[in-house]
C-alpha cells in the first residue's frame, strides 16, 4: 500500500543521506522524497512517499524514529491529510497548439508562467493523479520537459507534526 510519511529532522549536514541511506540499505521503496527547512531554521521537514506491507511500513516508521537526527515521524496516511505536488511542464506551443494548450492549462487550473514564441511553461499544482491526468490530456509529442517536486503533505485540522 502507498504511504505518505512526514518527518521533522535536525537541519544537519548529512541528515538527508541518513534517511535515503536507510531506505536503500534496508530495501525500502522511495517513490518520492521532498525536503526543505521549516519556520524553525534548525529543523527540516521531509515528506516521503513509499509503498510496502503493513509490517514494512511499521519497520520504516520505527527505523526512521531510530535515526538520531530525526525528531518526529508521522504516517500521514493513518488519518485525514492533504497532499500537493507542483509540476512545471515545458511544451512546444506553435500554431493551433498554442490555443489548445492554453485551454487545457486553464481547465486544470494551471498557469502559464513563461512564454516564448515557440514554447509555454505551465505550472500545475495538485495531487499527483491530477498532474498525471494533465500529462495524459495533452499531446505527448508536445512535451519538452517535465519537472515534478514529489508530494508534500500535511494533516487536516488539529493533526499537527511538531517536536
Amino acid at each position: 500500500m502507498r504511504h505518505i510519511i512526514s518527518l521533522l529532522m535536525a537541519n544537519e549536514a548529512g541528515a538527508l543521506s541518513r534517511v535515503s541511506g536507510l531506505f536503500s540499505a534496508r530495501g525500502y521503496n522511495i517513490e518520492s522524497l521532498t525536503v526543505a527547512p521549516t519556520e524553525d531554521a534548525t529543523l527540516s521537514r521531509m515528506t516521503i512517499v513509499t509503498r510496502g506491507s503493513d509490517e514494512v511500513i511499521e519497520q520504516i516508521n520505527k527505523q526512521l524514529n531510530k535515526l538520531v537526527d530525526v525528531v518526529s515521524v508521522m504516517d500521514l496516511s493513518d488519518g485525514d491529510h492533504i497532499e500537493r505536488e507542483l509540476m512545471l511542464v515545458k511544451v512546444r506551443a506553435e500554431g493551433a497548439d498554442r490555443e489548445e494548450l492554453k485551454r487545457m492549462s486553464d481547465i486544470f487550473r494551471g498557469q502559464v508562467i513563461d512564454v516564448s514564441d515557440k514554447t509555454y511553461t505551465i505550472e500545475l499544482t495538485g495531487a499527483g493523479s491530477k498532474l498525471d491526468s494533465f500529462l495524459q490530456a495533452i499531446d505527448r509529442k508536445l512535451i519538452l520537459e517535465t519537472v515534478r517536486t514529489g508530494a508534500s503533505g500535511i494533516g487536516r485540522g488539529e493533526r499537527i507534526l511538531k517536536i
Binding site: 549536514a13 519497520q59 531510530k66 538520531v68
Partner: protein, 568 residues
C-alpha cells in the same frame, strides 16, 4: 584557558575516565598523538592494523561495562577500521571511534589520505559526526559517549579534521547532554508488564529465550531470578551466553543453527515465549514461516522498538532497559497470588528432559585424532570454567559456545552478528588489558588467526599473556562442513594449504608455541600453557579435519528440522 582541538580531545577522554585508547597514528591525527604523548592518564595501545584497534576496543567494552575507544587516522586508517565498526554495530557494543580527517579546506578535493569517513561508516554506526569547528568538539565528544552507551548501545564515530585539532577555543566539558531528537525509552509500560506477568503465570509450557541484551544491560541476576520464579527452561543465544548460568538445571543450552536439541524443540513447542534482549534473527529461529506455524504467545522485551515485530509478530511488546523491566516483572510476579501451574509444568519438564536425553552435544572421542570438542571441554576443566574466552568465527566458535559452559556474563566475547574472522586475538588484547590478572584465552582456527596474526606483535609489546587455542584442522572448517552437506563434497577453496609453522611463528614474535598432535597430550599442553602466567602461549592443536558441528539446523529450515550427529 584556550586549548587546541587535540588537547580538548584528550581532556574529554580523561573526563570520561577512559583508561585505554587503541590506535595507530598517521598524518591527520598527529596533533592528537602529540597531546597523548604529553600526558599519562589515558594510555595508548599501539596495534599493528587499525581493524585490530577497533576489535581491541570492542573486546575491552564487552568484558567491562565501559565504552571502548579507538583512534585512527584518515583515509586507509578509517577504512581499515570499518570491519571493526560494523562488528560492534551488529552486536550493539558501546564504542567511540575517533578518526582524523584532512584539513577542512581540503575536504572534497580528493586530498592525500582523504576519504568520506562519515559517509563510509554511516550504515554501520549508531551515529557519526564530522566536527567542522573546534567550538563544537567538546560537546560532540560528550554526545558521542552518551549515544554510544545509552539506549541500544553502538559505535559512534567522530571525524576530526587536522586543522580542527590544531585550532584553539576555551574548553569546557559539558556536564549534561540534551539531544532533542534522542530519548531512548528505558522503563517498561506498567500495564504491559502486568499483562506479561499474567501470561507467564498462566503458561503451561513457558520458555525464556535471552540474548546479548541481558549482558549489555548487566541483568543476569534479574534474568536468573525471573527464570526460577516462573519455573521455565531458559536458553541463551550465541550473544547471550553467560547471561544465565550454564550449570543451572533450568538451562537448556544455546539455541539456533547449532543449538541443542532441547533448546530448539523448547522454542518450537512452548506456549508462552519470553524473549529478552534478543532479536529473533535468522541464525536463531531459522525459517520464520516454520517458526510461526505453531501457535504460541510471544512476550518480547527489548530496548529497541525496531527490534519488536521485525521478523516475528509479538503479542506483548515490552520496550525498555532489560534490567529495569525484568525488575518490574519480578515485582509483579512476586506480588501475585497466582503461582505457576505446577501440574502442567511437570509434564513440560518431563518433555524437556526427554529431548535432553537425546544428548545432542555428545561426540565420539578418539585416541588417535584430537577432537575439537575434547579440546574445549579440557580447556573448560583446566580453567575451571572461569576464563574470559574470545573467539574467531567458524566451527571453533560454535564448539567453544557449545562446550565451554559459561556461568558468568561478559566472559564469552565473540562476533555474533557480523561473524568477523580475525576478531578473536585483538579482542583478547582488549579483554586482557581490562582484566590484567585474569585468564584470557582466544579460541581460534588456522584460518581466522591469520586474519589478524600481526597482533602477536602488539601482545609482545604490552606483555599480554593471552593463550591462543588454535583448533587447526587444515580446512576452513565451517565452509568445508557446508560444502560436505550442501555442495556434494566439492571443497572449493576451503583447504588451507601452505600453513605456517605456528610454533616458529609464535617464537618469531617472542612468544611460546606448542604443537599438540595427540589426544593424550591435550590436557598436559593446556596445563603447561596456563601455568605460564606471564607469557603468551600459542597452542597449535592438530584436530580431526573431518569433524562437523552438530546439531545443525540447515539454513532456511525450521528449528525442529535438525540434523543430529547420529543421523549421518
Amino acid at each position: 584557558m584556550e586549548l587546541t582541538g587535540a588537547e580538548i580531545t584528550i581532556r574529554c577522554l580523561q573526563e570520561e575516565g577512559v583508561e585505554y585508547v587503541f590506535g595507530y597514528p598517521g598524518g591527520a591525527v598527529l596533533f592528537i598523538y602529540d597531546e597523548l604523548f604529553k600526558q599519562e592518564k589515558v594510555k595508548h595501545v599501539l596495534v599493528r592494523h587499525e581493524q585490530a584497534a577497533v576489535h581491541a576496543a570492542d573486546g575491552y567494552a564487552r568484558s567491562t561495562e565501559k565504552v571502548g575507544v579507538a583512534l585512527v587516522t584518515s583515509g586507509p586508517g578509517v577504512t581499515n577500521a570499518v570491519t571493526g565498526i560494523a562488528t560492534a554495530y551488529m552486536d550493539s557494543i558501546p564504542m567511540l571511534v575517533i578518526s582524523g580527517q584532512v584539513p577542512t579546506s581540503f575536504i572534497g578535493e580528493d586530498a592525500f589520505q582523504e576519504v568520506d569517513a562519515v559517509g563510509i561508516t554511516r550504515p554501520c554506526v549508531k551515529h557519526n559526526f564530522l566536527v567542522k569547528d573546534v567550538k563544537d568538539l567538546a560537546s560532540t565528544l560528550k554526545k558521542a559517549f552518551y549515544l554510544a552507551k545509552s539506549g541500544r548501545p553502538g559505535p559512534v564515530l567522530v571525524d576530526i579534521p587536522k586543522d580542527v585539532s590544531n585550532h584553539k577555543v576555551e574548553f569546557e566539558y559539558p556536564s549534561t547532554v540534551n539531544i532533542r531528537s534522542y530519548h531512548p525509552q528505558t522503563t517498561g509500560d506498567a500495564n504491559l508488564v502486568k499483562q506479561a506477568a499474567q501470561m507467564l503465570l498462566e503458561a503451561k509450557r513457558p520458555m525464556v529465550y535471552a540474548g546479548g541484551g541481558v549482558i549489555l544491560s548487566d541483568a543476569s541476576k534479574q534474568l536468573t531470578e525471573l527464570v526460577r520464579l516462573i519455573d521455565a527452561p531458559c536458553t541463551n543465544t550465541l550473544m547471550g551466553l553467560g547471561g544465565y548460568p550454564a550449570s543451572d538445571k533450568q538451562f537448556v543450552g544455546m539455541l539456533g543453527m547449532h543449538g541443542t536439541y532441547e533448546a530448539n524443540m523448547g522454542m518450537q513447542n512452548c506456549d508462552v515465549l519470553l524473549a529478552v534482549g534478543a532479536r529473533f534473527d535468522d541464525r536463531v529461529i531459522g525459517n520464520v514461516a516454520h517458526f510461526n506455524s505453531v501457535p504460541r504467545k510471544i512476550i518480547h522485551l527489548d530496548i529497541d522498538p525496531a527490534s519488536i515485530s521485525k521478523r516475528v509478530k509479538v503479542d506483548v511488546p515490552l520496550v525498555g532497559d532489560v534490567g529495569s523491566v525484568l525488575t518490574d516483572l519480578i515485582k509483579v510476579l512476586k506480588s501475585s497470588k497466582q503461582k505457576p501451574d505446577a501440574a502442567a509444568h511437570k509434564d513440560w519438564w518431563k518433555q524437556i528432559d526427554e529431548w535432553r536425553s537425546a544428548n545432542s552435544l555428545s561426540y565420539k572421542n578418539s585416541i588417535e585424532l584430537i577432537k575439537p570438542q575434547f579440546v574445549i571441554e579440557t580447556l573448560h576443566k583446566i580453567t575451571r570454567g572461569d576464563a574470559f574466552i574470545t573467539s574467531d568465527v567458524g566451527q571453533h566458535q560454535m564448539w567453544a559456545a557449545q562446550y565451554y559452559k559459561f556461568d558468568k556474563p561478559r566472559r564469552w566475547i565473540n562476533s555474533g552478528g557480523l561473524g568477523t574472522m580475525g576478531f578473536g586475538l585483538p579482542a583478547a588484547m582488549g579483554v586482557q588489558l581490562a582484566h590484567p590478572g585474569e585468564t584470557v584465552a582466544c579460541v581460534t582456527g588456522e584460518g581466522s588467526i591469520q586474519m589478524n596474526i600481526q597482533e602477536l606483535s602488539t601482545c609482545k609489546q604490552f606483555n599480554l599473556p593471552i593463550k591462543v587455542i588454535a583448533l587447526n584442522n587444515r580446512y576452513l572448517g565451517m565452509v568445508r562442513q557446508w560444502q560436505e552437506f550442501f555442495h556434494g563434497n566439492r571443497y572449493s577453496q576451503s583447504y588451507m594449504d601452505a600453513l605456517p609453522d605456528f610454533v616458529k611463528l609464535a617464537e618469531a614474535y617472542g612468544h611460546v608455541g606448542i604443537l599438540v598432535e595427540k589426544p593424550s597430550d591435550v590436557e598436559g599442553a593446556l596445563q603447561e600453557a596456563f601455568a605460564r602466567k606471564d607469557e603468551l602461549v600459542f597452542l597449535d592443536f592438530r584436530t580431526d579435519s573431518t569433524e562437523n558441528v552438530y546439531p545443525m539446523v540447515p539454513g532456511g529450515k525450521g528449528l525442529s528440522e535438525v540434523i543430529l550427529a547420529e543421523d549421518l
